[in-house]
């Protein structure tokens, strides 16, 4: 009896050890433009706004910061060097714009480092030409870290979530990449379609019908389970319809 009671009092780890462990397993991810928000791996963030309020742009910027390396061939890019997954439910992702933004960030970082040394104009142009193959190599490396899928309805989305665990495991084993960022564009995309799915009575009592509540619960459950096994930062956007007072300014610039 006495030994059992004593076993309760033995400590597992000190507070410092726990802090170290938690900060390595679930680190802070400071991704611009949300770098002032203390987001940690395992958090779920929802970006809400009306149409055309740059929600997708924030996701794209976060993805670019995630896939750029911290330091590469002597140049500091300030990224995280991890993979990012993008689930496109809105199906409006423009990869050409994404690649433009990535190129722009790479050039900015490269030029930033060269201008610190204090080169002349001609020197910097020559250096730019020299850096071009490195930039292209880095560009290819970063683009390969960006994983993309689009879903045209809720069943495809649920199928993606259910098989995501195995895909992440495979990525980790085969390529050795760790995905730390999961971006979902427009989590409310299929709201009306699911709401309109008629839930006519099914022949068996315990059978779940396919309507909005069951689908939403299934999505939330899958994401929760996924975060237990593969800790990631999840960022989702949602388009909302604001009240009338915000929509008057829409066409004033045209008339």
């Amino acid at each position: 009896m006495g030994s059992h009671a004593k076993a309760w009092l033995v400590e597992d780890e000190s507070a410092r050890e726990m802090l170290d462990r938690v900060l390595t397993e679930r680190p802070f991810l400071l991704l611009p433009p949300l770098h002032r928000v203390p987001l940690r791996v395992g958090n779920v963030v929802e970006l809400v706004g009306p149409s055309s309020s740059s929600k997708t742009h924030i996701l794209i910027q976060a993805a670019i910061t995630c896939i750029l390396p911290k330091l590469w061939k002597g140049v500091s890019y300030g990224g995280l060097g991890h993979s990012a997954m993008f689930i496109d439910l809105d199906c409006r992702f423009d990869v050409l714009r994404f690649s433009e933004l990535l190129n722009h960030r790479i050039m900015e970082a490269a030029n930033g480092s060269s201008s610190k040394v204090g080169c002349h104009q001609k020197d910097s142009e020559a250096q730019f030409e020299r850096m071009k193959p490195y930039n292209e190599e880095l560009f290819a490396l970063c683009m390969k870290r960006f994983l993309y899928i689009r879903c045209y309805d809720s069943s495809e989305f649920l199928a993606t979530l259910k098989t995501l665990h195995y895909r992440l495991q495979k990525e980790r084993e085969v390529h050795g990449v760790n995905v730390h960022l999961l971006l979902i564009d427009s989590i409310g995309a299929f709201h009306w379609v699911d709401r309109g799915s008629s839930s006519f009575p099914l022949e068996y009592d315990n059978r779940k019908s396919w309507h909005l509540q069951n689908v939403s619960e299934a999505v939330v459950q899958e994401i929760r389970r996924l975060l237990l096994v593969h800790p990631m930062l999840v960022m989702a956007t949602k388009a909302v319809v604001l009240g009338n007072k915000y929509s008057t300014n829409e066409l004033t610039c045209l008339l």
Binding site: R92, V193, G196, R207
Partner: protein
């Protein structure tokens, strides 16, 4: 969605033990698996007598589910596909082409919004005549506004004067590339689009003249009657239409041009019809208007994937 019983011939793992176990948890088809908790199911399977077989069955269903979604692509593969397939088609109208940086893009939905007689149909006919020179065009007409004479006029303006016979042959060839269907309600449009999807699935991969432009003139006349305040069916149908068009545009490399009307907003300003839920569907939205009593039109960008809204231009048809 396939019932599990019907899948047994293809996947013998899904025999009656597996099916009875699933039935006891209310799962009768693959779709039911999607809204059920598979980890709980696996836990129940552990406690069952024939747990090995059940776990094999669940693994088999998971691999079936893996085929149900689009493939994962990385950034380089996406970029490759965009550069190879997603070209830009000029509309043939200089002002619009300059504003859009080339024209309308394959794989994207471009919406033309404007009040009556603001040139929307004219822009569509001009674009159709331009694209039809080399590719096939499908024109879905809801208000009998398609005019073959106008298309012939546009084509006539741009070809070199040669013999009347050569001119005729050219006209014949280009006009035969345009197919026009009249649809007067949304279900007829769904019908045509599903037939188009099956047709394109067979055509993709074969050479020759491919379909590259789909015009819907106008989508608001099909959807507005359905958008009442009480039922959600209207918005569900509207969203489904949008996604079907996006799927066709992306998977079969079509440029889609949609026409929408305007309705009165607050303060007397007009705003695009179909409400706020429609705003998230098209990739680009252009607002057209006409100067009274002349052939001068104005176009401005309401939304574009890579340009700021508010940019405007003028054009003449």
């Amino acid at each position: 969605m396939a019932r599990l019983a019907n899948l047994e011939t293809e996947y013998p793992v899904l025999d009656s033990t597996v099916r009875n176990f699933c039935a006891s948890h209310g799962i009768f088809s693959v779709e039911d698996f999607l809204i059920h908790d598979l980890y709980m199911l696996a836990a129940f399977a552990e406690q069952n007598n024939s747990s090995e077989r059940l776990k094999e069955g669940i693994a088999q269903v998971l691999s079936i589910i893996d085929d149900m979604h689009q493939p994962w692509l990385n950034g380089m593969e996406l970029l490759e596909d965009a550069k190879r397939n997603k070209h830009v088609f000029p509309t043939g109208i200089q002002g619009i082409d300059l504003l859009l940086g080339g024209g309308i893009r394959v794989g994207q939905l471009t919406e033309l919004v404007g009040p009556s007689s603001s040139g929307k149909t004219q822009v569509c006919l001009r674009t159709a005549s331009n694209v039809a020179r080399n590719h096939m065009v499908l024109y879905l007409d809801t208000g009998n506004s398609f005019s073959p004479q106008r298309i012939a006029y546009f084509l006539g303006k741009t070809i070199n004067p040669s013999s009347a016979q050569a001119k005729n042959q050219f006209l014949q060839k280009v006009m035969s590339n345009i197919s026009c269907h009249s649809v007067f309600d949304i279900f007829a449009m769904f019908d045509v689009l599903h037939q188009l999807e099956s047709y394109l699935r067979c055509q993709d991969g074969r050479g020759g003249c491919q379909m590259r432009l789909l015009i819907v003139d106008s989508i608001s006349s099909l959807i507005s009657p359905l958008l009442g305040s009480s039922s959600t069916q209207g918005r569900a149908l509207m969203t489904s239409t949008g996604y079907l068009l996006k799927k066709l545009a992306h998977q079969h490399n079509l440029a889609v041009l949609i026409i929408n009307h305007t309705v009165g907003g607050e303060g007397g300003y007009s705003k695009p019809a179909l409400g706020d839920s429609w705003k998230c569907i098209p990739h680009s939205r252009l607002f057209l208007s006409c100067d009274r009593g002349s052939n001068n039109y104005n176009v401005s960008i309401l939304r574009h994937p890579s340009m700021a809204s508010g940019k405007a231009a003028r054009f003449v048809i």
